[in-house]
Structure formats: structure tokens, C-alpha cells
Amino acid sequence: MTMTPDAPQLGQARLRKEDARLITGQTTWTDNIQQVGTLHVAFLRSPFAHARITNVDVSAAREQPGVVAAFTGADFAGEQGSLPCAWPVTDDIVVPDHPPMAVEEVRYVGEAVACVVARDAYAAADALEAIEVDFDPMPVVLDMEEAVAEGADLVHASAGTNKSFTWPFSAGDVEGAFSGADVVVTRRYRQQRLIPAAMEPRAVVCRPDGDAFTLWSATQIPHVLRVMLAMTTGIPEHKLRVIAPDVGGGFGSKLQVTAEEVLALLLAKRLGKPVKWTESRSEGFQTTHHGRDQIQDVSIAADSDGRIRGLKVDLLADMGAYLMLVTPGVPILGAFMFPAIYKMDAYSFSCTGVFTTKTPTDAYRGAGRPEATYAIERIMTELAHELNMDPMELRRRNWIAREEFPYTTIAGLTYDSGDYEAATDRAMELFGYDGLRAEQRARRDRGDTVQLGIGISTFTEMCGLAPSRVLGSLSYGAGGWEHASVRMLPTGKVEVVTGSTPHGQGHETAWSQIVADRLGVPFEDVQVLHGDTQVAPKGMDTYGSRSLVVGGTAVVEACDRVVDKARRIAAHMLEAAEGDMEFSGGAFTVRGTSQPAATIQEVALAAFAAHSLPDGVEPSLDADSTFDPENFSYPHGTHLCAVEVDTATGAVRIRSYVAVDDVGAVVNPLIVEGQVHGGLAQGIAQALYEEAVHDADGNLVTSTMADYLLPSAADLPDFTTDRTETPATTNPLGVKGVGEAGTIASTPAVVNAVVDALRPFGVHDVRMPCTPERVWRALSEAGSGGGAVAGSPTSLPADSRASAPPGASAYDEDEGGAQ
């Protein structure tokens, strides 16, 4: 595509600037960074899910070839502090002490208990074997319901309970809504535990520079990490520089302050040498935080014509063994999304955070919102079935109509804009809804072994995290603003500094498009700088589909300030009144004349030379902005999925998938489409493939890429994607955020389709992931009339021990006992 410099960039499918280095291997992943004299760190990790450490002796490890030092948790007890939780959601929340290296007790398999530092990584790994460590095993706590029952074994004895917190919310007359309703549907849904599995493993390098430190990490949050490292270790913040170089995906898993980052810093400090640690994949599966893992009890009350009266949600959320950076906040983010796009009179929500002896959970793509969307979109489909109504018709009767925006939901959020009708009409058209329903009837009529199912998901989400005052009211420890600076260099080129740190989202391209339009400079003349707290000193980083909405707005505002300053200088240069200056296409014109009189590049040079500036105007042409949004943004869309289910084998095949998303205005449609695709893959994977499974001793059974089913190209369909555009009214770009939409929408669309295919057989639910074995069992149990899992939706076993994937033999043994 050829582009003249002054053609508008916004909305163009510009190819990405980032690609050149990524496709030629000129990358700086953290593990690529080699500092002279680097020492390599390896961690000895607990093989027990819960045990007292009775003895750790690293002296023999110190004697191994190549080993420089070895340490136990006790060696760092005085300075390692406790890994931070920045989101204590209630005043009385239990936040247990969380030493980066365990000192007295371990509470999940993989927790670090000692480390070796050696001249190369092989030597460090070898020497771990020489460490002597004795554990006294303690009772494991794996099941959330058992964990909160009377007399349960405790994860943290000193807390006296496995409940971390209970967070309630209520609006409207909930009991009235339920008692006056014609129909009440109650269901239990299980959000299985997932492993985020960014393709780049975590890695950290830390180099001492005198009394200061430079720390490179595969992190989404260099700015937050710097603050938290200072608070955790007591090393002054101004002595810390944190760099996120090229980062290979995150999906929330790198929105964290990890034990290894804290310890790398302390080891570099203690040894006075650069240190490096890179996780192996299996180590990462055990120790990098997991996601989801909730038991959702949901009830919906409606009139016989389908009008929703009320919704009740009761959650148990597995925190794992400790609260990490935003662990408790994840289900609370979901609290506001259960009412979704629907109008209702009353809503109540309660969430209890539960400790178990498993890897801590935390943010994973969507963080709280996919869980909520799943539950509401599944139960809406069940309600439609109870009412004998088309599931789309039920949604139409309840959603917020286009003319009702802005609309304040029962959960208290004000949706600024949306057009559910338009997105749905477009999706139905692309999908061929009526034709597929006809085929479904035909297959049902002729008793085809392969049945067709149609699944619907009409969703919204809260993005653009977030207004700082709202985060404050929810007890989050930081704000939600974002920073940008835009500087014109003397030669007319532009540097943009953003606090929003990308890890695959294409900020360099999108930000260049924004700046090119705003300043009227060529796209190629813009350089985007990020990810280094020395280069980009202020920022809140990348998560929660916030980059463009919040960070992009900061870029727009900084550009506008640059133009304002340039206008004063240009007026001075041209001896014209400031009010007579018009700016377009990168040049100033004096009103009433036709010839551009000064380009912004000429103004930049004049501002640099500073020979003649108007009074009170400082040399140089640059400006900053720190933008704090007033509201969230609310992308929405309609996703439709058709699956073929082989009733003989239980195999599910996605036949077609249509996603029509409304993410507001679009800066780069190519990037938006890519984000939707990737999101769909992860959401579909939750529906069909992925689950972190533990055995009865708390070992992660799915601890390698061979056991945890990350979908390959052969496991996923092609997608039909399209968009409607209802601009956000709360930011100048009109954008809403797209990073999480696909994941949030797709999981319920797929499961609704699977259940729809099996409905004639009496199946009303299949627990995720809908593996062939689960589908087959749901069918055979429904067929035999006594299916606890399939036939009686309120009695789904919650225990993950009952969730054996095919072939997990440890589970098969356990399963009977667990029920």
C-alpha cells in the first residue's frame, strides 16, 4: 500500500514496524542478554505441595565444579521481604507472608527453597543435586469446597482459615426479584485452572552498577516492577532501573512481581556480579502464576416472556497458596460484568477467595471478565431453553437498546456507547443462522451420528483500565493513568515515549500512526521508545486492554500540546497573530493565505536553535501528557459458533466461527484482527483443550507442553471476523480496546454450541474443557438417565480431582473417591 505522507494514517492497515527485527532474529529477548562475567542461577524447588522444611544444607553444592555460591531461604530472611499483593480487596483480607525463597514451610509444588549460582547454567543445574533438604509433609488442600468447610486442613495455620476474603455486592431488591419471577434457573459452572503459557519463558538478568542496579526482565510491567522491587527489598527506587526488552507474550502471566526477580536483584547485590535466570518450560508451568479456577453458582430469575428480573452470583475463587500482585482483584473485576449487556432489576454477587496448596493464580487474558461472561452467556442459553425460546431472541428482549446509551447497569457501570443490534445483525448474516438451524433440524430428524450445535455469545467487557479513582475505591494500590511524551528533534524527526510497555501488541506501529496524523509527519519519521524506566520514566504498563485507550490518548494529548507550542513559535516566525495560524498536513498557514508558510519541521529547528522565540516560550519542541480516564471503555460484539459433535466418539469439530466485534474506532485494522484471532484461540482452548490438572498429592500432572494441550494450527479453525464501529465517547480517538475481546467472547460461544448439539439427548452441560471423553461421558450418562455431571446441572463436582483428562491415570483412580 503506498501512502503519501499526509494521507490519514488512522484506520490504515499499516504493516508493523516491529516485524523487521522479529522476522530476522535481531531480537533482544531477556535470555539473549549477555553481560560480561554473568553468573547463572538455578533454584531447588519443593517436590511437596505442603511441607515443613526441617533442614536445608547447601554446603556440598558450594563445592561443585563451577559453583560460585549457594543459598537457602534463611540466608535471605532478613532482606527478601514478602512478595507484594497490591490489591487487598477488603479491609479484613488475609494476606499471608510470602517469602520469595521459602524459609519454614512450602505450600505448592515448585516453590523455591534454595538456589545455586554458578559460572554456567549447566553447572548451576547440576549442583542442585548436591543440596540436602528434608521436608516434613503436611496435609494438602486441593479442593475449594473442602477448604472452606469446618475443620479443614489449613494452608496457612496462622491465619486460622483458608478463606482470604469475602467480597459482597448487591443492588436492587434481589429477593423480591426472585420471589416474583415466573422462572428461576440455577446452575453451577466450573472455570477450570489454566496455564497462560506465553511462548517466551520468564527470564531475568540483573547487573550491579555501583550502588545501583539494572534489571532486565521478561515482564509486562517494568514500571510497576521497579516500584514494587524497591518496596519489597528496601533498595531505593532511584537506584533501580528496570528494562523490559523484547517480551514474547504475556497474557497476564508477566503482570507480576516474581520471586525470581526479587532474588536476582538480591543475588546481584550480594555477589556484586551480573546474574541471570531463565525458567525452563516445566519450571514455568509449575511456578508462573496460573489463571481462572472458580466455582460459579449462578441463579437467574425471569418472567415467562423472558424479561430478566434478577441475577445472583456466588463464587469460590482459588487463590492458590499465596496472594500475588493482583490475585484477589481478578474475580472482583468480574463482579461488574455478570449483568453483561442485559437490563435487570436486581443483582447480588459474592466472592470468597480460597487458599489451596497450589500455584498462585492471578491475571490471565481477560482476568475476571471471561469468567463472568461465560457464566451469564451459558445461563442465558439455559434460560432460553427453559422458556422454549430462541436464545438470540431472549438476548434481544433483554439487552440495552442502541437508543438507551449511555446506560448505567445494575452493577453501577455506565456504558457510554454500543450497538448490540448492529453487531448481532451482521454476525447473523455472516453466519447464516437460519440455514444452520435448518441443517441442525435435519440432522436431528434423521438421527445423524454427527450432530450440529449452534452457540451464541453476545458480550461486553470493561476495558481501558482504568480510572484511578475507581481503582482507589476498589482498594487497588495504584492508579490507572498513562503517560506519553512527544518530542520533535531538530531535524524534524519525532520521538514518542510511552509508559505503556508492549509485548506483541504493535504499539510502535499504532503510536506512529497516531503521531503521523496528529503532527502531519511521515509515519516513518516517528520512533517509539518504551520499556526502560530510564527512557520512559513514568508508566503503568500494558494489561487490561488499556494501551490504546489510555496510553494512546496520552499520545494524542501530548501531540496536541506540541502543536500548540509550535503554533506560538510559527506565529512569531511569520509575524502573524497566533489566532490566525491554521495547522494541517504538518504545516502552518496564515489564515486567508493559501501557501503553507512554515512546516512543523521548520518550527522544530527554530525551537532548537532558539535564536528568536516568543516571550515565555522555552527552547525545544516537546510536550508531555499523563492521562487518567474518566470511565472504562466497553467493547462488545456477537460471536456465533457452529460445531459438529460426533456422538459416537465425543469429538468436537468447530465448523464455523463468526466474530463481529465493536471495539470502537480502529487505528490499525490489521492489528485489531490479529488481536481478535489470538484471543479466539485462547478462549476456544479453554472451551475445548486446556486444563491444569493436579493429582491427589497436589502435583501438577499437566506440567509440560506434552501434557498441557496448547492448541496447534491443526487444532483451530479459520475465523470469520468483521467489525461494527460505535466510537467510544470517553476518549478523543473513540477507541475501546481489543486485547481481551476474543478470549472473553469465544469460550461460552463454543460451549453453548457443544451443549446445543447434545440437547436432544438430555445433556444440559458439559464441563470444560469439552474433551471427547467428557462429551462422550455426558452423553452416556444423560442417556442412562442418571448422569450427575450431565443431567443435573446443579450437582457438578467442583473438585478438580474429578476433572481427569483422558489418560491421566492418577485421576481415574481418584475420581470415584472424590465424589
Binding site: D19, D246, G678, G679
Partner: protein
């Protein structure tokens, strides 16, 4: 310690290596060829894929010592005369990468796939790339990119560059047992 002579991206190296050192570590740590990343420890992800005598191999499953006498091409050696390989270009043009961590392996695996099958269907592409995982793209654009590269290469008559004469490459067993190279059943294109 074994002594090896290996050509990597057109440059000959003579080195003593530890017997147990993996090719991927030799490339990254010894030669500084860090363009080839590591994504797993079970040979599942494909991030580390390189060409050995023109055939794709997961460099985490090959010992450095086994590369003795062979010709290795990494993603860093694909461009020639400042021109990207058609597969690199089509990954860029089809937005077939986001974070880019899987990309070197994906591109190399694609080159081998197109050597075997210059005109693959979507299904053949998806199955052919099964050994390479991507967590970002959902694969749709990768499939598009492969299809596009195949068309371009067919149109321009691009012989699979950077590939030694098919059939004269390293015997499969040279890479050791296990499954360092893709199954022999797929290697019949020569």
C-alpha cells in the same frame, strides 16, 4: 570434548564443545546466534527450529556434537543481499506474528514445508506446522502467510534457497535418536 566443524549461516566454525551441549545452546551462547529462541524443554514448541542441510530440525533436540560436518541455517541467515526470504516477507505482509517469539521457528518450518509441498492446502499447512506452537496469533494469519509465500515462490520460480540439494543432506540418523528431525515419512520429497 568433541571437536566440531560446522557451518552456520554461511560461516565455518571449528569448536570444542561439551559432549552434552545442545545445538540450540551452542548457537545461542557460543556463536551469539540468539535469533533462535528456546520455548520449551520437551521438543514440543518448535521455537528453536533451524535448517540442517536444508531440513528442519528442532535445535533443542540435537547435540552440538551431532552438527559436526553439517550446514546449519538459522533465521538470521535467511535474508540474502539484504533481501528477505519470501517467507519472511509474507509473514510481515500477512501480520503472521505478534510477539514474534515463535516466528523464527515458524518461518524455518514453513520453508521446509514448502520444500516438500510447494502448493499446500490450508489443511496441509495446519498439519505441517503442528510442531510449532504460537500463543499469540491463533494461526489464521500464519496459514495465510504460508499460502501467500507458496504462491509467490511458485510464481517467481524461487527454488528453495538456503537448502542444500535435496537428498544430499544429512542422513536422518545423523541427528541422533529421538525425533530431532521430522519423521522420515515426511522426508520423501527428494
Amino acid at each position: 570434548m568433541p571437536h566440531i566443524r560446522v557451518t552456520v549461516d554461511g560461516v565455518r566454525y571449528d569448536d570444542q564443545v561439551e559432549a552434552r551441549q545442545l545445538l540450540t545452546h551452542y548457537l545461542r551462547e557460543r556463536l551469539g546466534k540468539v535469533g533462535t529462541p528456546i520455548g520449551c524443554d520437551t521438543s514440543n514448541c518448535g521455537a528453536c527450529t533451524v535448517l540442517m542441510d536444508g531440513l528442519s530440525a528442532k535445535s533443542c533436540s540435537v547435540l552440538a556434537a551431532q552438527a559436526d560436518g553439517h550446514d546449519v541455517t538459522t533465521v538470521e541467515g535467511l535474508a540474502s543481499d539484504g533481501e528477505w526470504h519470501p517467507v519472511q516477507r509474507s509473514f510481515h505482509e500477512n501480520h503472521a506474528l505478534q510477539c514474534g517469539y515463535c516466528t523464527p521457528g515458524m518461518i524455518i518450518a514453513t520453508i521446509d514445508l514448502l520444500r516438500e509441498n510447494p502448493d499446500p492446502s490450508d489443511e496441509e499447512i495446519r498439519e505441517g506446522l503442528e510442531g510449532n506452537l504460537c500463543r499469540c496469533t491463533g494461526y489464521a494469519n500464519i496459514v495465510r502467510a504460508v499460502r501467500d509465500a507458496a504462491a509467490q515462490m511458485r510464481a517467481s520460480g524461487t527454488a528453495p534457497r538456503f537448502v542444500s540439494e535435496p537428498g544430499t543432506g544429512v542422513p536422518r540418523q545423523a541427528a541422533g535418536e529421538g525425533e530431532p528431525l521430522r519423521p522420515a515419512a515426511r522426508g520423501g520429497a527428494a
